[in-house]
């Protein structure tokens, strides 16, 4: 049991961090060039030159391309109809068909955005040659530039690692605590405890402390890995992270103990814990942005301890946010924890 609690999460952290990336590596294109003009070739070579695209195959029929699309061999098809080059030469709007494999919606959005960008770029490149030909009037351009703060390289690992760490700490904390009291019910030791004069809160606090220590340990190892193996810049204060973690674990363990006192078998406890776990994780903003959720979803998140912790740990680690920046979230989490523990203590019945 112990190796599972201590080692598994660490291994998982190391592996899963690499899995959680939306970073586009490579988009495979199938090009159907019925035009075979210098313009179509130029645009194709632009795609080939971009680090995001590989032209996997060239062909002359859309059907052949579609077949590849159905087999998931290619991600998008570009179709140049006959006359494309002619249109460009005659300065008429020229069309190129882009057929995107949207089996994976989020990836498809990105393919499309990148393809548009390459074409846009090609347009700009055409523009100067053609501008003076028409009118002398200058065109007005709102020029934009962008810079990414806190993570200029747009690296996914610094973003994902704290989140996955939270997830692992949560899994361990929630499940161990949810299974705990109910396990004693199953093997019968709970009766022996109930017949003693021990106070309910004493018993539950005794249960709580080991899990708190395990949680802290996992978090510590995770943060060490983050700093020394993954070289994630650690901008905020470690003490603050631990303070947040402490409050957070109170909530999670409170929920776990509550589940444990309300169920009769470990199986029940586990299933309920699993349910909350999955809901908490999926809605936490770990994988998909919280902002994208509908209004009511974001409101529901008010009750989701994971989302608070993920938000705070990311803020503290990656942006160096201080106590004042996270005060509101921390306060809510604190109240939440007190509420959960109080309910857990109250719902735990020494007498049936």
């Amino acid at each position: 049991m112990l190796p599972i609690i201590f080692v598994m999460p660490i291994i998982q952290l190391c592996i899963l961090v690499f899995a959680a990336t939306y970073d586009m590596k490579n988009t495979n294109l199938y090009v159907v060039d019925k035009d075979l003009s210098s313009h179509s070739r130029e645009l194709i070579s632009k795609f080939n030159g971009s680090p995001f695209f590989t032209v996997k195959d060239l062909g002359f029929s859309v059907d052949a391309g579609e077949k590849e699309l159905f087999k998931d061999k290619v991600d998008a098809i570009l179709v140049f109809e006959k006359g494309f080059g002619n249109d460009v030469d005659l300065k008429r709007p020229a069309g190129v068909q882009v057929l995107v494999n949207a089996i994976d919606a989020s990836a498809a959005g990105l393919y499309n955005a990148y393809i548009q960008a390459v074409i846009q770029d090609y347009n700009l490149h055409l523009q100067p040659k053609l501008i003076n030909a028409k009118t002398r009037q200058p065109i007005q351009i709102v020029d934009n530039s962008y810079s990414h703060l806190f993570n200029p390289e747009m690296d996914y690992i610094p973003y994902m690692l704290p989140g996955i760490l939270v997830l692992l700490v949560t899994v361990i904390g929630l499940f161990l605590s949810a299974m705990n009291v109910v396990r004693e019910k199953e093997i019968g030791t709970i009766e022996q405890i109930n017949v003693t004069p021990i106070k309910k809160y004493q018993f539950l606090i005794g249960k709580l402390i080991p899990f708190l220590i395990i949680g802290f340990f996992e978090l510590g190892v995770g943060l060490l890995l983050a700093t020394f193996v993954f070289k994630i810049p650690f901008l905020g204060s470690l003490g603050l992270i631990y303070l947040v973690a402490f409050v957070y674990l109170l909530v999670v363990l409170g929920i776990g103990l509550l589940i444990s006192t309300q169920t009769d078998t470990q199986q029940q406890a586990m299933f309920i814990a699993w349910f909350f776990m999955v809901v908490f994780i999926m809605m936490s903003g770990l994988f998909t942005p919280v902002e994208s959720m509908p209004e009511w979803g974001q409101k529901l998140n008010f009750l989701n301890p994971v989302s608070y912790f993920i938000k705070m740990i990311r803020m503290i680690m990656l942006k160096g946010s201080g106590f004042k920046d996270v005060m509101r979230e921390l306060g809510i989490l604190g109240l939440y924890g007190i509420a959960m523990l109080t309910i857990a203590v109250n719902r735990y019945r020494k007498v049936s």
């Binding site: 019968g188 030791t189 009766e191 017949v195 003693t196 021990i198 020494k350 007498v351």
Partner: protein, 248 residues
């Protein structure tokens, strides 16, 4: 009867689960220092009653006092003054013998010194010094049961409740177990024990026999045998149980 002081006083105890009446109008007294046998077939309502007396379960109605405390209002005080050993084995299998003693001693508020002293004493009496640091899970059942009993009276309670303490134990160990019970009784601890081994009933000072949630007989073993003209308790029990609605 060693002492006329009542330590358990039960009047008109009822316990109902929905339509089912597990305990029907129980009234009895248990006196200080005696070994009180609580007999009955499986499902007769023994465990239900013992749970109510030890504060694990609420009675539906009735007046019950244990060790001078009311089971409705003075539950936590009551718990300080009783010991309990259930039919399910109740020490922590993944802790060592000594850790279990320390754990339960701690719960009852014994000091470190007291715990150490008691543990030494207990392990010597049981002849289990050599397994002090072994995990409970590795020990044979008989040893575990003896340990569980000793732990249940670690804090010198007024009464100890034993719910089928000798289930699944071999005859020799059972005999030794009863020696422990006598020992406790000699120290003034009242022993309230449920069992369905009729030979064990002979060891008790007084015996009550439950059938279908009611107490059908209550007296010393010898009186009961006389009353039912039976040669042993087994026969007494059979006579009574024959009237049970659960007759197969």
């Amino acid at each position: 009867m060693k002492d006329e002081k009542q330590v358990i006083r039960v009047r008109n105890l009822f316990k109902k689960f929905g339509d089912f009446t597990a305990n029907h109008d129980l009234s009895f007294d248990v006196y200080k220092g005696e070994i009180f046998g609580f007999l009955g077939a499986n499902g007769a309502g023994k465990t239900t009653a013992i749970k109510i007396l030890s504060g694990l379960s609420y009675p539906t109605s009735g007046e019950i006092e244990v060790a001078g405390f009311d089971v409705y209002k003075q539950r936590e005080l009551l718990k300080r003054n009783i010991g309990y050993m259930s039919q399910k084995f109740s020490l922590y299998e993944d802790l060592t013998v000594y850790e279990n003693i320390r754990f339960y001693g701690g719960i009852y508020g014994l000091s470190r010194k007291e715990i150490k002293m008691k543990a030494d004493e207990l392990l010597t009496t049981l002849n289990l010094e050599h397994v002090r640091n072994k995990r409970i899970g590795e020990l044979p059942l008989g040893w575990k049961q003896k340990l569980a009993f000793s732990v249940a009276i670690l804090h010198n309670p007024d009464i100890v409740f034993l719910d089928e303490p000798t289930g699944g134990v071999d005859p020799v160990t059972r005999r030794q177990f009863w020696d422990l019970i006598y020992e406790a009784s000699r120290k003034g601890i009242t022993v309230f024990v449920t069992t369905h081994y009729m030979d064990e009933a002979e060891y008790c000072d007084r015996v009550s026999i439950m059938v279908d949630g009611k107490i059908e007989a209550l007296d010393t073993p010898s009186e009961l045998k006389k009353q039912f003209e039976a040669k042993d308790m087994d026969a007494v029990f059979l006579r009574l149980a024959r009237n049970s609605s659960y007759q197969e």
